[in-house]
């Protein structure tokens, strides 16, 4: 805190920003001090500490921007303190920046305190670099030293002082530490006891090439420099293409000189970039010589070592494949035994539903026994799969790995020529295709947007992952299942390439651009966050299981029962048999074909359809629920492969075709609805839905034929 004997906060209740009023103050002289700095550097805290709570708050003359002024005294000197608007720079990009810059240039304060955040010095030194050529005495208030210390950032203030060429005062303004020292420095500068004049900007900040350019510009403008404006600053602003300064100088300078200057500026290229580049080189040098980030550097080094592998064009995919394998193993180990327990109750409940009702019509007991119970049972068995996969995904997301996966995926998308702006929507598609489709609004043109819309739905969403996993585990053993998952990922990549080529040949031409991504830091898993994520996912799925899946199961059963009271002559059979020729291409009979078709509503619906259609087949030996129960009860003979039992109903080649066809089918009815709401075009909606259906059939046909070769 400031020394109370020397410091008196003397803010005037009527507002003492006016010079006449300040001169009526009892002290001998009034020193004007401006406080400049970026937002959130603690500038106002310092200002409040120095001036006390009673400040004059008004507006800057002719502007709607708030102006705060206050008076204070220290060692018999009165200081008029002015809190300048918080700005990122002292250019004239905004009203606030113009006010801050005009105050320094026109009001010529005796001292400017540039407030810097010690914990983010690289960010806040930019303003110091800008303030130096303004030729006003500068003090750098290095605030938030405590935060810097917490982050294990060590700053050598003395070295920093030498490097900048201005006095540096370390502070913790929130605790009042360093305020008196700051006032002492301001006092000494005002009494001209402390040499503070910064070294000339061009010789100090910029390299020889830029210095030469600035000297040439200065030579041209020297005689025409407006009063009070430093030539150094004018030269920099001309190079930065500052509109206001350019206009002033064009009027002030002789035509020949102006033309010569214009020529120099044109030859220089992008002046804004040159000047900013010079300032950042200067900041980087200062940072390297005066700041040590112990904790951060160490953790970044560790992280970067792993990221070099995790984001490597080849190594990254190997890491991702290993993680996928591990996820599958974890999922199978956790989820499958629990799913089996639930499935074990399904036949018991079916029996109960058939025997208890007594007078209930056959169709009603049938819809409950063979529609509702197997459908919800299958949904509940699937629930454990969702929980296990959510646990893995939540863990990967929480430790920061998912962003690396997104990076890998999108580096591939960049390679096939997709515009950089597509990154975020496609990344979001990994969570939910609907989010990706809506996120496509960021694309600049209609064609790009349409292409993104098509691509977004190819990305496997988090809902598809557990369902695919469930089918894979249902039909195949773990080793084959892993190979199928890899094949699905490879097919997705191929699908994306084909789609980009088919639809993007003209829309994307020459538009691939550079993109840089900040990957989140890795951190220890927060089990509370992961738990909340898993519970959220579980709740969401349970809700769907008891609503969508239950309703779908009952409708499918009713369609499979009426009009004849048996599946063979049912509406469902008629419908399925109509499209059977398409199914035959994929090795699917009408039953499996109907299951595939229902996946277009929502992937989970295929589960319900499977439970109903195969569940009502005569004999436990051929019903999937019955098979699962058999396996659970150890009645499997070799007990190893569930796939062997499923073969009785669905051949492995057909199962493979089914998995591929479901994986690449329409994501869900909600996605199709959003395609319509985004395009407002039935033609596009129908076209896109047809494209997915066609690609789904192609995938099914190819998978079936490969399946025949592999499994016979």
């Amino acid at each position: 805190m400031p020394d109370k004997s020397n410091l008196k906060s003397a803010a005037c209740s009527r507002g003492c920003s006016d010079t006449t009023e300040t001169k009526q103050h009892s002290h001998k002289e009034v020193i004007t001090v401006g406080f400049a700095g970026q937002p959130n550097t603690g500038k106002s805290t310092i200002f409040n500490r120095i001036t006390g709570l009673k400040q004059h708050v008004g507006n800057w003359p002719g502007k709607t921007v708030e102006q705060k002024t206050g008076l204070t005294s220290y060692k018999d000197v009165t200081y008029r303190c002015v809190d300048l608007p918080g700005t990122y720079s002292l250019s004239a990009n905004s009203l606030e920046e113009r006010i801050a810059r005009d105050f320094i240039l026109k009001e010529k304060p005796d001292v400017i305190v540039v407030v810097a955040d010690a914990s983010q010095l690289e960010r806040t030194l930019y303003m110091v670099a800008e303030a130096i050529p303004l030729s006003v005495p500068i003090v750098v208030a290095l605030n938030m030293m405590d935060v810097a210390e917490l982050r294990e950032t060590k700053i050598n203030a003395k070295m920093l002082e030498k490097a900048i060429g201005a006095t540096v005062v370390p502070l913790v303004a929130s605790k009042g530490k360093g305020i008196t020292e700051l006032l002492e420095v301001i006092y000494q500068i005002s009494q001209q006891k402390k040499a503070v004049a910064p070294k000339p900007a061009s010789g100090y900040i910029f390299d020889a090439k830029e210095q030469d350019l600035l000297s040439k510009i200065k030579e041209n403008i020297n005689d025409s420099t407006p009063e009070g404006y430093p030539a150094e600053w004018i030269a920099l602003k001309l190079l930065e293409e500052d509109e206001e300064v350019t206009q002033i100088m064009q009027q002030k300078m002789a035509t020949d000189n102006w033309q010569e200057t214009e020529k120099l500026l044109k030859e220089a290229g992008d002046g804004k970039l040159i000047v900013a580049d010079g300032r950042y080189k200067w900041i980087a040098k200062i940072m390297a010589s005066t700041v040590t980030k112990l904790g951060l550097e160490a953790s970044l080094q560790k992280r970067n070592r792993f990221d070099k592998i995790a984001t490597h064009p080849i190594g990254g995919y190997l890491v991702a494949a290993a993680i996928v394998l591990l996820s599958l193993i974890i999922t199978a180990v956790i989820a499958f035994p629990l799913a089996m327990v639930v499935m074990g109750y399904v036949p018991v409940l079916v029996e109960l539903a058939l025997t208890l009702p007594g007078e209930m019509p056959t169709w009603l007991s049938g819809v409950i026994a063979y529609g509702l119970i197997p459908g919800v049972g299958m949904g509940l068995a699937m629930f454990f799969m969702v929980i296990a996969i959510s646990l893995v995904l939540g863990f990967l997301e929480d430790i920061g790995y998912m962003a690396r996966l997104g990076y890998l995926f999108d580096s591939f998308m960049q390679r096939i020529g997709l515009h950089g702006k597509a990154f975020m929507p496609l990344f979001m598609s990994m969570g939910c295709n609907v989010a990706g489709i809506v996120g496509g609004r960021v694309m600049d043109s209609w064609r790009q947007r349409m292409l993104l819309l098509i691509m977004a739905s190819i990305i496997p969403c988090t809902a598809l992952i557990p369902i695919t996993g469930f089918f894979v585990i249902l039909f195949f053993d773990a080793g084959t299942g892993f190979l199928i998952v890899l094949a699905l990922l490879a097919a997705t990549i191929l699908h994306l390439i084909v789609t980009a080529r088919v639809f993007g040949a003209t829309a994307l031409k020459g538009e691939a651009t550079g993109l840089i991504m900040e990957l989140p830091p890795y951190h220890r898993p927060n089990w509370r966050t992961i738990g909340a994520f898993v519970i959220g996912k579980g709740k969401e799925f349970l809700h769907r299981a008891v609503t969508l899946i239950a309703v779908a199961s009952m409708i499918i059963w009713l369609l499979s029962y009426f009009p004849g009271g048996g599946i063979e002559g049912s509406y469902l059979a008629s419908f399925g048999k109509t499209f059977e020729p398409i199914g035959q291409l994929m090795g699917m009979d009408w039953r499996l074909l109907v299951c595939w078709m229902t996946a277009g509503i929502a992937k989970e619906t295929a589960l319900a359809a499977m439970a109903v259609i195969y569940g009502i087949m005569p004999g436990a030996g051929t019903s999937i629920t019955g098979m699962l129960v058999d396996v659970m009860a150890g009645r499997t003979g070799d007990g190893a492969a569930l796939g062997l039992h499923v073969l009785e109903a669905v051949s492995p080649a057909s199962a493979l075709a089914f998995i591929f066809a479901v994986f690449f089918s329409i994501p869900c009815i909600a996605a199709v609805g959003v395609v319509y709401s985004e395009t407002r075009s039935l033609k596009w909606t129908f076209g896109i839905a047809s494209y997915y259906t066609l690609m789904s059939i192609i995938a099914g046909v190819i998978a079936y034929n490969i399946g025949l070769l592999v499994f016979g």
Partner: protein, 92 residues
């Protein structure tokens, strides 16, 4: 430094702030500063929250887990703009 950063982004097509920091011999914090500066100048386009315009809200699934991570500011992406490309062209 800024030019090198622009050039690196244009050449690599897809990069991370960590790899750029390695290339320029700077801290990642400093690199982020450069990128923000380039974005302020219009040489890069920062795609962050504006690219997720409550898209999850319109979805029936309400599974906003990914949106949450984006909203937390976990992922920032800077894209080279036409102005950025022109600047590289002018200065190379």
């Amino acid at each position: 430094m800024l030019l090198k950063a622009l050039d690196y982004i244009a050449t690599k097509k897809m990069a991370t702030t960590a790899s750029l920091a390695d290339r320029l011999g700077l801290s990642e914090e400093m690199v982020k500063q450069l990128l923000m500066e380039l974005a302020r100048g219009g040489y890069l386009d920062l795609v962050e929250k504006e690219s997720s315009p409550n898209s999850c809200d319109s979805c029936a699934r309400k599974c906003a887990d990914l949106k949450k991570s984006i909203d937390k500011g976990h992922i920032s992406v800077w894209i080279l703009t036409a102005k950025g490309k022109r600047a590289i062209g002018k200065l190379s």
